[in-house]
Point group: C2
Chain length 315, copies 2
Amino acid sequence: MQGNNKKIFIQEVVTRDGFQNERDFVDTDKKIELINQLSQCGYSKIEVTSFTSPKAIPALRDAEQVMMGITRHSSIEYTVLVPNMRGAERALSCDADEANLVMSTSESHNLSNLKMTREASFHALSEVIKEVQSTRTAINVSLSTAFGCPMEGDISLETVLSWAERFVEQGARGITLCDTTGMAYPTQVAEVVAKFKERFGDLQLTVHLHNTRGMALSNALAAIEAGANRFDSSLGGLGGCPYAPGATGNVSTEDLVHMLELMGYRTGIDLEQILKASAQLPALVHHDVPSQILKAGRRLDLHDVPNSVKEHLGK
Amino acid sequence: MQGNNKKIFIQEVVTRDGFQNERDFVDTDKKIELINQLSQCGYSKIEVTSFTSPKAIPALRDAEQVMMGITRHSSIEYTVLVPNMRGAERALSCDADEANLVMSTSESHNLSNLKMTREASFHALSEVIKEVQSTRTAINVSLSTAFGCPMEGDISLETVLSWAERFVEQGARGITLCDTTGMAYPTQVAEVVAKFKERFGDLQLTVHLHNTRGMALSNALAAIEAGANRFDSSLGGLGGCPYAPGATGNVSTEDLVHMLELMGYRTGIDLEQILKASAQLPALVHHDVPSQILKAGRRLDLHDVPNSVKEHLGK
């Protein structure tokens, strides 16, 4: 369980997964400012935005402006969510470092969210991969509901792995296993990650956790023990779940980093700086955010000893 | 990490640790009703109330009435918090199964909370132990700030273990290591529990966790892997922390049980029934409670497939 200085890669998703469900539009310059700030904090990857239809996700209707407006840091990959060929064209026009394609491993969830069967999604995304492969932009595929679907329940491990395999055969350089609605639990995560590593070896694996049922940090530790070293996380824990109103959303970056660093893992993240960035979120989204560390402080952010106690202590 | 049917003992503290900081008084008959309901749910122990001065903790000013009013279940130990000799007398007059004495392993925290030095607390509690030992009431000692003090920072493991040892020598049959303000982290918990087990063998050890920094469930798993099998937890996650306003409090019973049962541990708790009890809490305390499972449901509490999707699926 000891981190022993092992490197864990942290990928920030707050301006995409976090903002996409916000009711109030976050101004474009505020988004750019936040991403520029986060670019100084040691992330390995930042998911900037989504090239979805502005009608479907008005919160991210400024995708091009944001991508073109940010100052890129050479050590960070700037990835964008790409749902289809139109999105891919937009991503390429902005010279994204990575296109993050997405489909669900659950037929019901894919039909609900993407309005097509998984096979139809696969074929459409395969066309996107062909288009993107001739460019410098890398391909990652995010597989939703990999740890359970809120309508179908458990998705078999073989189903999850075989969708991953089909995309790897197409040329994806990375796969993200998404616990879209926070159904994952530690022993399951350990099994899924171990089997994934067994089949795909050193292929870039990202684990995308939600804290809907309080288990995100436990799941992260289970994933690491099984061989994972790369996580999506969202500053402030922003990003909800339509199936669990009021529940917490994506695992909070600061909560994850705070725990991992205490345990001796090396994230490279400047916790103090991301806490400053996180403290700005409530003003941007006009509500409180679920992050625990933002409210409670780091464990050794100490409180003053009362004066009456100081006398007793002879201080 | 697999539970393999290992028994984990769950001790409910909501009516003591949960209610003690509530602004609004929970009516005595409502407390009794809740405890009677929880007595049907498979707990190994229930901390009913605190025999503290009614002026210090008015929320629990009905301690005797509650203890005398509940219907006890033969398989459950009914414990009460006892701060001093007066409290012990009151606990004995109610025939409590256990007196839970409390002091802090941090000098500053003990002076702040209990207004005396640790040595003074130890001597006062030793007198209590002598008084109680001739009765059928068992003695447990809860050691606060065992994983860190919000004013002093880390408390050395040797300090924690030596306070435990002094109480065990006095006749305590159990020790609770309390993460009073949520400063514990998994590798630390594993070390503390392992060293405790090494020194005290099969002495009853309870781990009392707070979720202030989001790590309570991860800490519980670390404690179990190091040999712990007994936890305090609070229904709904009720119970805050004066050092972290707005942060979550005690680890939520339903969140802990939900995770442990999924992993193959055997808590004996009827999760469906405690969720019904938890659902009543917001009406009792007049605010939302931090429990995640209460909001999100169990992982396989599935949602309906939309009609448009049903057509596609041919259902």
